[in-house]
Amino acid sequence: MALNIAVCLKPVPDPKNYDRVTIDPIRKTVVRTGIPTIINPVDKNALEAALKLKEKFGGKVVVISMAPPDAADKLREALAIGADEAYLLSDRAFAGADTWATSYTLAAGLKKIGLAFDIVFCGVESADGATAQVSSQLGEWLGVPHLWNVFHLEAEQEDKYFLKTKIENGFMEWEAKAPLVLAVSRELNKPRYTSAIGIIKAKNKKLEVWGEAELSADPDKIGLKGSPTQPGAIFTPDLKRRGEIISGDAEEIVGAVCEKLRAGGVPV
């Protein structure tokens, strides 16, 4: 038996630049002009986990994404890193989906691929929306058990796993059988880099783009229209404080800081 593994990837604006995200004052939309799109960082840990399992047991690794058409580049990057096939679910009708509609669409995509997936890997959360909800809801749509925040994975056999999930002040240990949806954290592994040979090989790998028609998804469950949650107003939080400047030589600064600490009720 060889494993069929899927990895959900999300192209996101590079989180290093989120301080540059603004709101268009007239159109009231998010402006992220000039911020490059990258593969959501922790999704690379998910891809790495998939590639490691494939190396151990053999099989196939497919990557899937629901994103605008230009995300094909990011899926090509995943193919260069080592995935075997890529599927991009892209359609205007998918836009504005909340986590319920997103996970439904991803599940529809995975079903359409037609492989009986043993494991679906996701990253714990995306950098931009950071809801951390899609992996659990994807498991529900697929009707398979799921675990979130996996930082340790041992495959005893192809279908039997020992896992650890991080909790507050510790962790939980789990025994699990495939099929599973696993959301992994950064601590799980160190993602490999793209190699030159990988980039060349990726050019000939399968990358399919599917829209609403190809997916045969329920139109009432996709996109903004199919989402139970609806967005309202957006705004930027005002966090400004008075910013009284303390300067001088180190001796003077330390004296002033001690004074402020005392004023704040901290004995020094």
Partner: protein, 333 residues
């Protein structure tokens, strides 16, 4: 209006966020007509926790006290909550966005075919009687209102430390048992084996009244050790930003402040070498007094600080430690 909160417990101890949720539920109840607050409590040998929930304003505790619920797993917890919610039809259902809640809440939402707003920073009831959940995006740079106008319950998850700890507001409440016959048909694809504790040394970050925080500008593991030393001297806790963990200076994410880490609201926050990226600031913005040390006068952390110390932390940090020791008559090493 029926407002529910999930009363999270592990090993018989209520998660701190549970009381924070009850406090917020009481505020929401004041904004809506004929509101009633209930808590849902699952576990084994946990009935005694009901007293605490009544003491903080729950009028009813739905209780499932059963050996099969001793260790959390969504394959048992979610169906119990889903069946109960289908029967009792709450209008609002709030969860802590803990490790457990971050998995359980969206699972229950999917099973109920309803919407859930993640990691809310504020909740209110609007003029139509709907829950408005304010959620952060792009590391907290943008906030947005989320509504769930058609589907019920309206669900939301909230991280620990976002809402303040409430005062008690005792209620003479009742316990209602939950029917657990559905647990007999649960599949066994995953099995929780055990909980392993890694008690952090020193004061837990969430409980500290003084937080000394180090950022990438620390520049070295040695300076991180000084941050830890200063935190101990001030009777507080050391914290950090993501790069400090990436550099391997700080022990791990349990002391990371920010949208993907912890939210804290200490009396005093003293930051060293912190640039002030929004995703960090969102985790400490409710602090009483913010003092920041950074050599870059244009650092954005200064805009959100009460006191902006423009100086070299390599000099200030050791000298501050020395001064405090001197004041207290502690001999230098």
């Amino acid at each position: 209006m029926k407002i529910w909160i999930f009363a999270e417990q592990t090993e018989g101890k209520l998660a701190g966020v549970t009381l924070e949720l009850l406090g917020k539920a009481r505020e929401l109840a004041l904004q809506s007509a004929e509101a009633e607050i209930s808590a849902v409590l699952l576990g084994e040998g946990v009935e005694g926790l009901s007293a605490t929930l009544f003491n903080y304003g729950a009028r009813r505790v739905y209780l499932a006290d059963d050996a099969r619920l001793c260790l959390y797993q969504h394959t048992t917890y979610a169906p119990v909550l889903t069946a109960l919610a289908k029967k009792e039809k709450p209008d609002i259902f709030l969860f802590g966005a803990t490790a457990l809640g971050s998995e359980l809440a969206p699972t229950v939402a999917a099973q109920l075919d309803t919407g859930i707003a993640a990691h809310c920073v504020e909740l209110r009831i609007n003029e139509d009687g709907l829950l408005v959940s304010v959620v952060p995006a792009f590391g907290g740079k943008i906030l947005g209102d989320i509504l769930c106008p058609v589907h019920k319950p309206q669900m939301a998850s909230i991280k620990a430390g976002i809402f303040p700890k409430p005062e008690p507001a005792p209620v003479n409440g009742e316990i209602v048992g939950i029917d657990l016959t559905l647990l007999e048909g649960v599949a066994d694809g995953i099995k929780a084996l055990r909980i392993c504790r890694e008690e952090p040394k020193g004061l837990p970050l969430e409980e500290a009244e003084v937080v000394v925080c180090g950022g990438w500008g620390l520049g070295s593991a040695e300076n991180w050790r000084l941050v830890e030393e200063l935190a101990v001297l001030l009777g507080g806790a050391a914290a950090c930003t993501r790069p400090v963990i990436d550099e391997g200076w700080a022990p791990g994410e349990h002391i990371m402040i920010g949208t993907s880490g912890k939210s804290v609201r200490p009396k005093v926050y003293l930051g060293f070498g912190i640039s002030g990226a929004t995703h960090h600031v969102c985790g400490m913005k409710d602090t009483g007094m913010i003092i920041s040390v950074n050599k870059d006068e244009a650092a954005s952390i200064f805009e959100v600080s009460d006191y902006a110390v423009a100086g070299d932390l390599n000099k200030i940090l050791p000298l501050l430690i020395e001064k405090i020791k001197e004041n207290r008559g502690i001999a230098p090493k």
